[in-house]
Symmetry: C2
Subunit: 351 residues, 2 copies
């Protein structure tokens, strides 16, 4: 049984979407887990009562798996993350993460300020020994199988050794959560040939090739949706640009299709007939289906969700946290990381 | 009347696609322009004869606007660009570009090795004074209006001053070709707030803000298809990843939609009804519709096309070159560049 701390106050649509998401996750998790709603108790209680009053059946089944943990301070989306932490030591983020350091919680989920969540997570949970940075691992929707992209936004300027660390983190993720033994690793670049790339990827290419990982070489942006690789490694700036380009393009193409369909009667009739098919596609490609990404490399479990997370996104982020606890993701990372450290040392000696 | 040199031997489907593309472009350009097919004369003549034999009407109208210029050497896609230039001084690329330096041609178009094309173009045509690098400007398909993305692949590691130069090049392009006076400039980053980005974009943000350009701040990957900005500036690595992610996502979403439609009889009927609408969308979003991008910053006009260019892509790249000549793009860049130089000097003094 996992105890998942959810930042009830974080995200553009909190606390409505966060609490609704928690309830949705609990219904589908069959009550095995507990969600700890972190935030201002009075606000959470009012919202919870209002949402539970709508469905008595859910209320009785789910309520006993919800805890409320008081956190009086709220950090705004525009506040500087570090300033926020110092000035507001009892924000929902800090309180939620502290529960984990105190052994009272197994995972933390937030759709609040990403920078604040990364900084507080690193400060409170600490990095795994041998790592220099945590990284966000996001699963991209894909035609064949999910692709893990790491780093998708935590570190804007990285070294090639950090990219090697990310590859290890992603590999353990793929093994542990998706059950892919010896997963394949691709390096995001601008051509499949080894000599294509920028200085960072050229160096990282050499390090990955010398590693014990199953490195398949460079992959291009177009491979993110149809990759043979289980894990795609990149710096956080590039990963974030790619992720947002992908999300924007999906939305834009589906929107343009809708407009085209509305433009004639014939197409409108056709549109009605393909509606169930289009809906399936939309659900599969919806970023909310993934909900969030793990912040990997810490001595604790953290899921970072989009600021604009809907109820469904929060529920999926909560489920992602539960899966991480069930599969002992953090423990298995800790077991495997000595291999990274050895390679990292070797890379230093070579350099 | 423009004389456009086309590398008949460049690209995955040359010379079939290149020659077919030239003929297609000439039909639509109403015979005002001349296409100079550069390559091995015997190969070109055979292919040209075979293609023209299919349609006598086109043959008589178009043939007189085609010139063949002999270039005996061919550079392979996998050869090192610089090695290729030295060993093969009479490749179609070098011969095509040399025509322009000799005043015998107005533009050069190739779907051959991009690295070779950039290196040869810079060597033969030379940079405009004050610039340190040429940049590829690609037009992204978009819902509202075309967005110029610069650099989309020429320079993998850039300085912030170079991003400022790219912004000027893109601005003159938007003004000159799309008739947008005082175009708006966005900087590709990972958040709209000025403090979001990597070291390069943070520095570039400050330079752009201090420039005479209409700088609108950071834009995210998702804005590439629906941007308010006329020009989006980035380094060539990021731009190339974004471009390929966008192309891959479009293909993947349309492919997934087709699969969903095939999955039930009801959807199949609907698919038939929306086919004209879907075809329109596909054409609009097809990268071939844009065909290629200008390599800007040189004292001559160069269009770089995808290696995988189809007939339609080559035709569009040829038209792009013709439009550049008609609108005096290179001359207008030269007129405006003193402004860049002044800003670039100011940036150096500040630094």
């Amino acid at each position: 049984m996992a105890r998942i701390a959810l930042d009830a106050m974080g995200g553009d649509f909190a606390p409505k979407a966060t609490i609704a998401g928690a309830l949705l996750a609990l219904q589908e998790l069959d009550g095995v887990h507990t969600v700890q709603l972190i935030g201002q108790t009075s606000v959470i209680e009012a919202e919870l009562a209002s949402q539970l009053s709508r469905d008595q059946q859910i209320a009785t089944g789910v309520r006993k798996h919800v805890e409320i943990v008081e956190a009086p301070d709220v950090i705004g989306m525009s506040e500087k993350p570090t300033a926020g932490m110092r000035k507001k030591p009892n924000s929902s983020m800090i309180v939620g993460l502290r529960l984990q350091t105190e052994g009272k919680s197994d995972a933390f989920v937030s759709a609040g300020n990403t920078g604040a969540q990364m900084a507080s997570s690193a400060m409170l949970l600490k990095l795994q020994p041998g790592l220099t940075r945590p990284a966000i691992a996001t699963v991209f929707p894909t035609a064949r199988k999910p692709v893990i992209v790491i780093d998708s936004g935590a570190n804007v300027d990285c070294s090639s050794k950090e990219l090697l660390q990310f590859a290890w983190l992603g590999a353990v993720y793929a093994e542990c959560i998706f059950g892919r033994p010896n997963p394949s690793i691709g390096l995001l670049s601008i051509g499949e040939e080894p000599e294509k790339g920028n200085q960072l990827t050229l160096e990282a290419h050499a390090l990955l090739e010398g590693s014990a990982l199953r490195f398949e070489g460079n992959v291009e942006g177009r491979a993110l949706l149809e990759s043979e690789a289980d894990v795609v490694v990149c710096d956080g700036f590039t990963g974030n640009v790619a992720l947002k380009t992908l999300e924007g393009t999906i939305r834009s193409v589906l929107g343009a299709l809708r407009d085209e369909i509305r433009s004639s009667t014939r197409a409108r009739v056709g549109g009605l007939l393909i509606r169930p098919a289009a809906r399936g596609l939309r659900a599969r490609l919806d970023p909310d289906t993934y909900g969030g990404g793990y912040l990997l490399g810490l001595r604790g479990l953290v899921v970072i969700a989009h600021g604009s997370s809907s109820r469904v996104a929060i529920a999926n982020a909560t489920r992602l946290a539960a899966r991480g606890v069930e599969h002992r993701l953090v423990e298995r990372l800790a077991e495997r990381l000595p291999e990274t450290r050895a390679e990292s040392r070797a890379a230093t000696i070579d350099a």
